[in-house]
Point group: C2
Chain length 535, copies 2
């Protein structure tokens, strides 16, 4: 493990704690391999510090530090180990938990310290004086061992309300013992920006310590609280990718960094990093196996999506009038949404985006608007299924649907056997290039079996299908309270190695809806490959 | 339509625009019935104003106003129609769009006005003076017709940057013509709280108008921007339920109102309304057919969910130390999450929550922790499937799983016929009370067919099953980029009229995973009904 640079210098810290505090989010469960992958993404993005976990507290985190030192050649970030101050009544130099932090080999250590009097007494069960001594002793010991030390003052803002002097004495003790930064944590997340700004100002003036901020999002103000602390003089911000974290979550790294770079004009990342933000946000969501939030500021797929017919016509005049920043600065793109709320202007812009010239054919655009309305009433959504929309649009432009094959019928069987194994078998009957094809395949599920049967049947005629791969599959039951009797919408994402496309199917059951989306996916794949329609 | 009270008085307005601006969100498409249902929920919650749409602009909104007047007996809210100032060069009294606003019968009208010089020139294509005249004329006309008028200054903050004097002149014109409130809109959502506070202060001082705020969430600061405007003297906040809205969304009604009531100590709702907030948030999500955000401040199911083993043990001492508010104040509840990151303390607390006494049996708790870890590795998640967790816990406590029936095998067939119709048929072979049961049923999909076959087979033996209903069905493909070949997780929510419960199934295909979740759902339903296990 080598560190080439803390980007861009040490005067301001972007400190990421996705791997430690972010992992507390409901639904996240990271393996060591996941943590290594995320650390690489964060380093690419250019955060200054990556808090990797609590070595010694669980075998997974210990292993992560050992492997990160071996396997990752950090370009921008320094690795940080998180741990607690020593036990009450002991010595830091003899405390096995403190020793494990040193053993991790991390050049920087964040120590969590209690700064709320009631937490010291009720949760830590020691005296206020001994708590200060624990901070002093542990920071001093780690500094003597050559490590840089940051101190997280847990529950600082709540503690400040019950005993401001004691809370500040913890900051002062950490600072005097050699901590480089003392971080004020809104652990329970109940603060609002004006309160944060006032407290940070006072603590800075009264203690002389370098101050950082760690905000949780329980009031929906974590990003604003972080910026309020910066306004008051904090020079170290602790965030997590996509705002992952316990309860509501932590301050979201991406809008914080974007505000600092684009609104404050502060350079906190290396050049070009911001334009990777959308990609990195989505890549991390994929690793933690959570669907990326479509409505996340800056990086969500909807963040620059325009729907209103009113706006759509004005956007044709000047897109800058309708966006607070150019989406390309954060690696995102403007999208026009196709929906029955949208009028002709949206369809025309969408056609342009797809490279399909609709010319001045008002009747044609009108027919497309009608067709979209009619299909959306049935449950289709073209906002999320660009490829199905393009097929619909081309069908109107070309006067008939693109067709590479015709389906006679299909069947899928799922059977649970007494021994607990399952058999999944599908048969498809198709016509392509004048030939009747009957193909049967097995799969690990009925949709997979249908996918394989379709491919087995068509691949001889269309060898281009060999490189198609299903990359995502989403099922949505429409109409709330009627369970499996409702309409089912399936969205399928398919890739061919050089790009992905999404298709939609709607039917009374999941298999029939999947089949429709598969048909569109294969049709679009052949269109993309430049194959001429034959049917 | 009668209005009993504007809660609690007119000095501060909670103005909801879910039905107008919120409906711009990608994926939302409201019917008139949806809008009426949401209006009732918002009135129950106690907002002062409900902006229902743009009558005249589309038939749906016109119909909504007509039916709302007939069908809803508003308790707290006043209905507001949204529309634009008159056309350039015309007269407000002769403008059909303005007339449609009057025809809606709404007692309050919000007019959108341009306040950004470039928008006036490029989008509206008129002069700056004529734009002021359009505001003056339209407000005057509507006031003469006896309506209360609010004016939304679109793109105000961006306009203020390019020409502050012109932006303020629009506010002044609206105010002088008789608008009760002039709303400064951050239409593109690019502002930060400090900027909003400064601009609102200046505009208030310079114009003397009553000021409102309309914030969009593009910087992730919409809630904080709204509160910053209130700090500066704004007395009217425009929000949407769950923050729905174009692009990233609007200022979220729920955290704004919660901050005002709980953090500012301001009474903005009628008594008892805040405790309905979680229910109303979820009910509205259900109507718009979007999954409620699990991580929404105050109302998300995760908002008071605790995962960390460290915290879990301290929470046993004093929950108030770990929560910024008592979740019951907003109608939410504290939850302990069962996850392999959690230790014994979480399992013990969870047992208590479920009313299952684990006593001091450390070995038992250890076995449950192990079992959860092992299952979560396979893809199960008990965080979202309380009923499946309770079955697992009881199996350990009681020494054997609860069983009301035993499955020999099952089979589902889906067939697409040449005429485009589908046949879905399922057969189950079961044992219950010593009897072998073979049942076959058809359904509108394979899971529905299995559900019906299971019910047909068991209902004679367990008549309690008659009232069970599947209320939600969710499919998640685990492991990102391998499409339908991945592991599938199904979460099923079942209700019996008096409550809902969630169960989980994980298998290599969607039908087999659904079957597992169905088996748990029926077993738990019988347990809930107090039926003694027989097998």
């Amino acid at each position: 493990m080598t560190t080439k640079a803390t980007a861009p210098d040490d005067t301001f810290h972007v400190f990421d704690t996705t791997l430690r505090d972010g992992a507390q989010r409901e639904g996240i469960n990271l393996t060591v391999a996941d943590k290594l992958t995320i650390a690489r993404h964060l380093d690419d993005f250019g955060v200054g510090f990556i808090e990797g976990g609590w070595p010694g507290a669980n075998p997974r985190d210990t292993e992560f530090f050992a492997r990160a030192r071996q396997e990752i050649d950090f370009e921008h970030a320094q690795l940080v180990a998180f741990g607690a101050t020593r036990r009450a009544g002991g010595k830091a130099s003899e405390d096995p938990q403190v020793q494990a932090l040193l053993d991790s080999g991390a050049p920087v250590i964040t120590l969590v310290a209690k700064s709320h009097d009631r937490h010291v007494e009720l949760a830590l069960r020691t005296t206020l004086d001994e708590n200060l001594e624990m901070v002093r002793d542990t920071v001093t010991h780690l500094r003597e061992q050559g490590r840089r030390v940051f101190v997280d003052c847990e529950h600082f803002f709540d503690g400040y309300r019950t005993d401001a002097e004691y809370a500040k004495s913890v900051v002062r003790t950490a600072h005097e013992a050699g901590a480089d930064v003392v971080i004020l944590c809104d652990t329970n997340g109940g603060m609002l920006p004006a309160q944060v700004q006032a407290v940070v100002s006072t603590v800075l003036a009264d203690t002389g310590a370098r101050i950082g901020i760690h905000a949780q999002d329980d009031t929906g103000c974590a990003v604003a609280n972080t910026l309020a602390a910066v306004d008051a003089g904090a020079t170290h911000v602790q965030c997590t990718a996509n705002g992952y974290g316990e309860r509501v979550g932590n301050a979201n790294l991406f809008p914080v960094v974007a505000a600092l770079e684009l609104k404050y004009g502060k350079t906190v990342l290396h050049e070009g990093a911001l334009a990777e933000m959308t990609r990195i946000s989505h890549a991390i969501a994929e690793v933690v196996n959570l669907t990326p939030s479509t409505h996340q500021p800056y990086v969500g797929v909807s963040a620059f999506a325009h729907k209103a017919g009113l706006h759509a016509s004005a956007i044709k005049v000047d897109p800058d009038l309708y966006q607070h920043i150019d989406p390309e600065r954060v690696g995102n793109t403007m999208r026009m949404l196709v929906s029955d709320m949208a009028g002709r202007a949206s369809i025309e812009l969408k056609g342009k985006e797809l490279g399909i010239d609709l010319g001045d054919d008002r009747a044609l655009v009108g027919r497309v608007v009608e067709r979209v309305k009619e299909r959306e009433l049935k449950g289709y959504t073209y906002e999320a299924a660009d490829a199905s929309f393009e097929l619909l649009l081309r069908a109107e432009v070309e006067g008939r649907p693109r067709r590479y094959f015709r389906v006679e019928s299909w069947r899928a069987i799922v059977e649970d056997r007494p021994d607990g194994t399952h058999a999944n078998e599908a048969t498809v009957k198709l016509w392509a290039k004048g030939e009747r094809i009957v193909a049967t395949a097995e799969g690990n599920g009925p949709v997979n079996a249908l996918d394989r049967a379709l491919r087995v049947g068509l691949e001889r005629i269309y060898p281009q299908l060999a490189k198609l791969e299903l990359v995502d599959y989403k099922v949505r039951i429409l109409e709330g309270r009627t369970g499996t009797e409702s309409t089912t919408r399936v969205l399928i994402t398919t890739g061919d190695g050089s790009g992905d496309w999404a298709t939609v199917g709607v039917a009374e059951n999941v298999i029939a809806a999947s089949w429709q989306a598969l048909e569109d996916a294969y049709t679009y794949g052949l269109l993309r490959a430049g194959v001429e329609p034959t049917d």
